[in-house]
C-alpha cells in the first residue's frame, strides 16, 4: 500500500515536471464548442478534427477545449479565458460566436482566431466553412429516387442562409428526378435538442414523409425514422449505427485536414487571415457510404458527386426560379454567385411553405 502510494506520488511529480517542461515550448491551440463533445453531430465532428490535429502534430502543440458554451453573453468570456490561458490560435466553432470572437480578436491582436460559418473577419481573425449545399444536392437526388410517397420531411434548425440553401439545393436536385416532389419543413429552432428533433421527425412521418432529412445535430431523427421503417440522412457525422437499415448517406464534416493545415501555418509563422469556403473538391466535407439503396440510385449519387467535385455540376445552375415564379438574378455567370448562396433568403419554386421572417 505504502509502496503504491509512493509510486503514485512520484508519478504525480514526474507527470507534473514533464508537462511543465513541454508546455513552455508547445503551441497552445484552443477550441470553443457549442454542444457537448458527445453530441455525435456538429461538436463531435469538430472534436474529431481536434483529435486528428493532436495525432498529427501532438508533439508540437497542446490543445484545450471548452464545450457547451452558449452563444450568448458567456461566449466572449470563454474565448478570453482561452487567450489568457496562453492559447495562440483559437477556433470558435459556431456562428453565434462571431461578434464575441471579433471583440476578443480586437483586444488581443497577437492571437489568431478562426471562426466557423461566419462572415466577419479581421487581420487576426479568419473564417472557414463548407459548401454543404453540394452534399444536399446529392441527397436530394437520392431522396427523390427513394421516396414512394413523393413527400420529403425536412427538419430545419434556424432559417439562416446555410440551412435555406441546403433546402433549396435538395429540392432543385429532387425536381430533376420527380418534378412534383413535395417537401414538408419543420423548424426546430435549435441546433441540438434530441427531444424536439425526434418530435419533428414523428410529425413529418405522420404527414406522409417517407424520407427524413435534417439540419440539426443529433441522431434522434435517424432513430425515429428507423423505428418507423422510413429512410433518413445523417447530419455532420456518420450515423449509420443509429439506423443500419435507414441511413442513405450522411454529410460528414471533416475538419481535421483544415485544422492541421492552419496549425502548420501558425507553427511556420505564415498564418494569414483568410476566408475559406471549401467544397467536395477541397475535402472540407465528405459523403458517408451510399447505403440501403439499389445500385442504380447509388450510381446516380456517385456520378453527381464526381461531377460536383470536378466542377462540372453546380447545384445553383441558372436559371434558378424563385418561389414567386420569377427568375432569380444570376450574378455568377452560369451559376448563382457566392454572395447569393451565402446570403440566401428565398425558397425556390416547388417549395410549398413560407420562409419564416419573410
Amino acid at each position: 500500500m505504502r509502496k503504491s502510494l509512493l509510486a503514485l506520488a512520484a508519478g504525480l511529480l514526474l507527470a507534473g515536471s514533464v508537462s511543465a517542461a513541454s508546455a513552455a515550448d508547445k503551441l497552445k491551440v484552443g477550441f470553443i464548442y457549442l454542444g457537448p463533445i458527445g453530441d455525435l453531430g456538429w461538436t463531435y465532428q469538430h472534436d474529431l478534427g481536434r483529435q486528428a490535429l493532436v495525432k498529427e502534430l501532438g508533439d508540437k502543440i497542446e490543445t484545450t477545449y471548452l464545450e457547451n458554451v452558449p452563444e450568448g453573453p458567456d461566449a466572449e468570456r470563454a474565448i478570453e479565458q482561452l487567450v489568457r490561458a496562453g492559447n495562440k490560435l483559437i477556433f470558435t466553432t459556431s456562428f453565434g460566436y462571431m461578434d464575441p470572437t471579433l471583440k476578443v480578436a480586437k483586444k488581443y491582436p497577437n492571437v489568431h482566431f478562426e471562426h466557423s460559418t461566419g462572415y466577419k473577419r479581421d487581420k487576426n481573425m479568419s473564417t472557414y466553412s463548407s459548401k454543404w449545399y453540394q452534399g444536399r444536392y446529392i441527397q436530394g437526388l437520392i431522396a427523390a429516387k427513394m421516396s414512394k410517397s413523393g413527400v420529403l420531411g425536412y427538419i430545419g434548425s434556424f432559417p439562416i442562409p446555410e440551412v435555406v440553401s441546403g433546402i433549396n439545393a435538395t429540392i432543385l436536385a429532387a425536381q430533376t428526378i420527380n418534378p412534383n416532389i413535395k417537401v414538408k419543413i419543420i423548424w426546430a429552432n435549435t441546433w441540438f435538442d434530441p427531444g424536439k428533433e425526434a418530435d419533428a421527425a414523428k410529425a413529418l412521418i405522420d404527414q406522409g414523409a417517407d424520407v427524413i432529412m435534417q439540419h440539426t445535430d443529433s441522431p434522434a431523427a435517424m432513430q425515429i425514422a428507423s423505428e418507423r421503417g422510413k429512410f433518413a440522412f445523417g447530419q455532420d457525422s456518420e450515423m449509420i449505427k443509429f439506423g443500419p437499415k435507414t441511413q442513405l448517406t450522411s454529410i460528414l464534416d471533416t475538419w481535421g485536414p483544415y485544422y492541421i493545415e492552419r496549425v502548420k501555418a501558425e507553427l511556420a509563422g505564415t498564418w494569414k487571415s483568410e476566408d475559406t469556403w471549401g467544397g467536395l473538391d477541397s475535402h472540407m466535407f465528405a459523403m458517408a457510404p451510399y447505403t440501403n439503396m439499389p445500385d442504380d440510385v447509388k450510381k446516380i449519387a456517385e456520378d453527381a458527386q464526381a461531377a460536383i467535385t470536378a466542377g462540372k455540376l453546380h447545384p445553383f445552375r441558372c436559371p434558378v426560379i424563385g418561389q414567386d415564379g420569377k427568375e432569380v438574378e444570376c450574378k455568377g455567370g452560369a451559376n448563382l454567385d457566392a454572395g447569393q448562396i451565402l446570403g440566401m433568403n428565398f425558397y425556390v419554386k416547388g417549395i410549398d411553405d413560407k420562409l419564416p421572417g419573410k
Binding site: L12, G30, P36, T64, Y65, L66, E67, N68, P70, E71, G72, P73, D74, E76, R77, A78, E80, Q81, L82, R84, A85, F95, G96, D99, K103, K107, Y119, F158, P159, I160, P161, V164, N189, L342, G343, M344, N345, P356, G357
Partner: protein
C-alpha cells in the same frame, strides 16, 4: 437502534448560520473524492475552482459581470417569495425587458440621438418587465390562476416573441439573414467601468438594488408587510394588510428588476439583441434567491459564489482538462447539501434506542 429526524421545538439560529458552511465543507469533501477518482489532483482542482479566479483582476471582473444579472433578478424574486407570491417567470420578464429597451436602441440606430438613449432604454426595460410580470399577478388576484404556472408559461411566449423580432422586423439588414439586430450604437450601450475590461455600470446598479432591498425589508413598513404576509397570512389579514395588493406590487417590482437586468445584459456584454441572450439567468436566479435565504446581503454573496463556480469551472476545464459535466455535478452537489443542511434548522437527528419489544425478541 436507528437514527431519526425530529422536529425542533424552535428553529435553531446557530444552524441557520453554520449550515451553508457545513454544506460547502461537505461539497469540498465529496468533490475531493470525485477528483481523486477522475485521476485529477484534488488540491489543484479545488484551487482552480475556488482560489485561482479570486487571484487576478480579470477573473474578479468576470465574476462580477456574471453575478450582476443573477443578483438583480434574485433580489426581485426574494420580495415575491417573502410575500408568498411565486414568480417563476423571471426569465420571461428578463427577455421582455431586453426587448422593450432594445426597441429604442433599434429605432435610434444610425441617428445622432443623444445621451438620453441609455436611460430611456433602462426605463422602458423596467416598465416592460413590470407589465409582463403583472399578467400572472393579475390573473392570480382576479381569477385565482396559479401564478407558478402562468408566469412559467409566459417565459416561452417571451422567448418566441424575441425570436420573431430578430428574425423579422428587427433583423440586421446587413446580417445575411442571421437572427440578430445590428450592433447597438455607443450611446445605446452600457458604459464600461474599466478600460479594456468587461466590468460595466450594471454591476453598480445591482449593488444599489441590493442596498435598496435591504432598506426596504429592514427599515420600512412595506418591508414588514411583505414579510408578515408571507410568514403569517392570517395575522396579516387581521393586521389589515392586503395580500392581493402585495402580490401585484412584488410581481411588478421583480418584473422591473428582471427587465433592467435584461437590457443591461443586451446593451452591455452582448451588444445587440439576439436569441439566447440569457443562459437561463431567470431560473438560476431562483437558486440564488434561496441560496441567499431571501436576504439581500445573502443573495449578493450567493450570486457571487455561483458566478465563482461558473468562472472556476471554466478555468478548471482549461487548466486541468476537467469536463464541464463535473462543474455541473459540482453545482448540483452543492445545492443538494445546502438544502439537506437547511433541514437541520428545523429538525435534528436523534438516536432512537431499541424499544422493549425488540429487546425481548432477542432473548
Amino acid at each position: 437502534m436507528q437514527l431519526v429526524l425530529e422536529k425542533r421545538a424552535e428553529r435553531s439560529n446557530t444552524i441557520a448560520l453554520v449550515s451553508p458552511l457545513i454544506a460547502i465543507g461537505l461539497t469540498i469533501v465529496t468533490m475531493t473524492i470525485l477528483f481523486a477518482i477522475l485521476g485529477k489532483n484534488p488540491l489543484l482542482a479545488l484551487h482552480a475552482y475556488f482560489i485561482a479566479p479570486l487571484t487576478d483582476s480579470y477573473s474578479l471582473q468576470e465574476i462580477a459581470v456574471k453575478a450582476t444579472p443573477l443578483v438583480m433578478i434574485a433580489i426581485g424574486l426574494s420580495l415575491c417569495y417573502l410575500a408568498n407570491a411565486w414568480n417563476i417567470g423571471a426569465e420571461g420578464q428578463f427577455l421582455i425587458g431586453a426587448v422593450a429597451g432594445s426597441w429604442i436602441a433599434v429605432k435610434t440606430q444610425g441617428t445622432d440621438a443623444g445621451p438620453w438613449v441609455l436611460p430611456a432604454m433602462l426605463v422602458l426595460a423596467a416598465a416592460g418587465g413590470a407589465l409582463y410580470a403583472l399578467i400572472p399577478a393579475i390573473c392570480k388576484v382576479k381569477f385565482g390562476a396559479s401564478e407558478i404556472l402562468t408566469s412559467l408559461m409566459l417565459v416561452y411566449v417571451a422567448d418566441l416573441f424575441l425570436d420573431y423580432l430578430v428574425r423579422g422586423p428587427w433583423r440586421d439588414p446587413h446580417g445575411f439573414n442571421f437572427p440578430t439586430t445590428a450592433e447597438f450604437d455607443p450611446v445605446a450601450t452600457v458604459p464600461l467601468l474599466i478600460e479594456g475590461g468587461r466590468l460595466h455600470l450594471g454591476s453598480i446598479i445591482a449593488l444599489l438594488v441590493v442596498a435598496a432591498a435591504a432598506i426596504l425589508l429592514g427599515r420600512t413598513i412595506k418591508g414588514f408587510e411583505i414579510r408578515v404576509v408571507g410568514a403569517a397570512p392570517r395575522a396579516a389579514r387581521f393586521g389589515g394588510f392586503n395580500s392581493n395588493q402585495l402580490v401585484i406590487l412584488t410581481f411588478a417590482v421583480s418584473g422591473a428588476l428582471a427587465g433592467i437586468a435584461g437590457i443591461i445584459e443586451v446593451a452591455g456584454p452582448v451588444g445587440h439583441l439576439q436569441p439566447g441572450i440569457s443562459p437561463g439567468y431567470g431560473f438560476t436566479a431562483i437558486i440564488v434567491a434561496f441560496l441567499g435565504r431571501l436576504n439581500p446581503l445573502g443573495i449578493l454573496i450567493a450570486g457571487l459564489f455561483l458566478a465563482l463556480t461558473f468562472i472556476g469551472g471554466e478555468q478548471a476545464q482549461i487548466a486541468m482538462k476537467i469536463p464541464l459535466d463535473v462543474t455541473k455535478v459540482f453545482q448540483g452537489i452543492l445545492l443538494f447539501y445546502v438544502l439537506a443542511c437547511d433541514s437541520l434548522i428545523l429538525y435534528r437527528f436523534k438516536l432512537v434506542l431499541p424499544n422493549r419489544q425488540v429487546a425481548r425478541g432477542t432473548h
